[in-house]
Every structure is written in structure tokens, then in C-alpha cells.
Amino acid sequence: MKCKKIHNKLIFFLDGDLSSNEEKQIKDHLTECPDCAAFADHLKKTLNVIQSEKSPEVNPFFYTRLKAKIEDQAAASQKLHSWISLEKILQPVFFTLLLTAGIYAGYKVAEPENAQVDQLSYNEDQIIPYLDEMQVETIETFLMDE
């Protein structure tokens, strides 16, 4: 078996996933090829890390910390609830005030102006003649002048 083929199967060989025939072929190759044997050794040691890491020792105060965390979260949740119920009262009051202010502002803006000017009150008839001279001079008079 060539080295490349061996390398592709080494992890399965180490895990015992191969058929007995393939296992024997690989074993025979490893006894003859020092490079493949070195890699197999490296691979085995690296994968063995998993065995050493399995079932790490758990903190003896795990449950105490867990209970404290649950109680803290319950207290925080209660505080949040009281804020939410206060918000339920404050929000409608705020929007009512805002609406009232908006209506009052709109009323003030739309209020008609009281435009009483005593001294200078111009009658429409008195102004327009100065603007429109055609009213004073007829067309026939205008043409006859030319």
C-alpha cells in the first residue's frame, strides 16, 4: 500500500474502523515505513488528548453558583416587571398631554387674525382706478388721441 493511501486511512485504523484485511496491510506498512510510523504516532498522541480531556472536574460550588444565578435573574425580572407596570400608567398620561398640547397649538395657529386698521383703510374702488387706467380712459378716446 502506498504512503498516501495509508495516510488517508490512518485515523480509521487508529479508531478500529477498518476491516481486518486493511488493518493488516497498514500494520505491515507501518513496520516498514518510518515516515508513516512517525505520523501515525503523532496522530495517535494528538487524538489521545481527547481521552485526557474527557470528563473534566466540575467546580464543587457549581450548584451554589447556579442557584445564586437563578435568584439574581428572578430579582432582575421582578424589577423589570415593576418598571413595565409603571410605564403602563405613565405612557397614556404622556400621550394625552402631548395630544392636548398639539390640539391647543393647532387652534392657536388657525385662529383668524383681527385686522382692524383705523387710520389707513383703503376702499377698493379708490385704489383700483390708479392701477387700471383703462377704466378712466375708454378705447375710443385712446385711439382718437393717436
Binding site: I11, F39, T46, V49, F62
Partner: protein
């Protein structure tokens, strides 16, 4: 207390039942989390979140699967969420950087602790290399491989946790091993020879 009693009492809010549940399953949960996040402190934090979630949502548990299956599922999801959330905070060091640090091992052969220290450093580096190789696997391959290797779950048990068929789990683990081997060989070829 058997499993059914634990669930029944938990649903009533019995703290004793919760204590029994935690004592019985904390190693399982911490181990699963550790297999995915590779840090014991983080694994314990995540495990606590798992049990808090169980405490909060026990009324939703219908008993269609075993408690352990449910716990595995929550532990895996929480761990993956943790990894995703902390990806940006983690400073990525490549496998090659880890190998380069091997060359800085002090070669003080007169130090009587030299060989123990060297072996310890080598083991630590192997662990880092392996963790990075596992972390580089696609999500489902990583989950299946971790549950199989760290928790010794059978393909059937893994299929129940991941809600996949047994053949899918078999395929996932096969591909995970192939990918791991490729990564480890590439690293070995470039750095350790």
C-alpha cells in the same frame, strides 16, 4: 428519584428535584460544552445557562425523548451560540503560529525539570492543534464528532440529539475524521518534521 419523578416534581417547582437533576447531569452537560468550547470555565458558565433554561422551560418538556437527549440538545445549541458570539473577541492564532512557538522551547538540558516541562508544553500544543482542527470542521461534523468522542454516544443516540438519521450521523463522523486527518497531516508535514 427516577427520571419521570424528577420531571414531575420539577414541573411543580420542587427545588429538591432540580438539585437531583443538576447533580445527576452536570458532568454530562459540562463535558459536552467542554468538547465544543475547549475551556472549563466557559463550559461551566454555559452549563449553568443550560440548567437555567431547563428550570424555566420544564413545563414545555413533553417527555417524548429522554432528559439526557434534551440536555444534549440545549448544551450543543448554547455552546454553538457562545462560540458564535465570542468569535470576534477571540484572537485567531493559526496552527502554524502554534507550531512556531514549539521552536522557542528552552533547550536547557541541565534543568532537571526540562523533560517534564517539554512534555507538558508538547501536550499543551497538541491539545491546541487538535482544538483548532476540530473548530475548523463544519458545524454538524463538529457536533457529531464531539458527541461521539467526548461523550461516547452511539450513532443512534447522536441521531436522536441531532434529529438526523443514523446513516447521516455515520456519514458526518466519517467526513469529520477524514477532514481532521487532513488538517493534522498538513500541520505535521509543515511543522513537526
Amino acid at each position: 428519584m427516577n427520571e419521570a419523578e424528577i420531571i414531575q416534581n420539577l414541573k411543580k417547582g420542587d427545588e429538591k428535584a432540580f438539585r437531583v437533576l443538576v447533580d445527576k447531569y452536570r458532568q454530562l452537560v459540562v463535558n459536552t460544552c467542554f468538547g465544543l468550547v475547549h475551556n472549563i470555565e466557559d463550559a461551566e458558565d454555559i452549563a449553568q445557562e443550560v440548567f437555567i433554561e431547563v428550570f424555566r422551560s420544564i413545563s414545555d418538556f413533553r417527555g417524548e425523548s429522554k432528559i439526557s437527549t434534551w440536555l444534549y440538545r440545549i448544551a450543543v445549541n448554547r455552546s454553538l451560540n457562545y462560540i458564535r458570539d465570542n468569535k470576534r473577541r477571540k484572537w485567531f492564532t493559526s496552527i502554524e503560529d502554534t507550531a512556531k512557538s514549539k521552536k522557542t522551547i528552552p533547550h536547557d538540558v541541565h534543568n532537571e525539570n526540562y523533560h517534564d516541562t517539554n512534555r507538558e508544553i508538547e501536550n499543551k500544543q497538541r491539545a491546541e492543534i487538535l482544538h483548532k482542527a476540530i473548530d475548523g470542521l463544519p458545524k454538524n461534523q463538529k457536533i457529531a464528532f464531539t458527541l461521539n468522542k467526548y461523550e461516547n454516544l452511539s450513532y443512534k443516540e447522536i441521531s436522536e440529539v441531532m434529529l438526523l438519521s443514523v446513516s447521516s450521523v455515520e456519514s458526518l463522523i466519517h467526513r469529520a475524521k477524514k477532514n481532521l486527518q487532513k488538517k493534522l497531516y498538513a500541520f505535521y508535514k509543515n511543522n513537526w518534521i
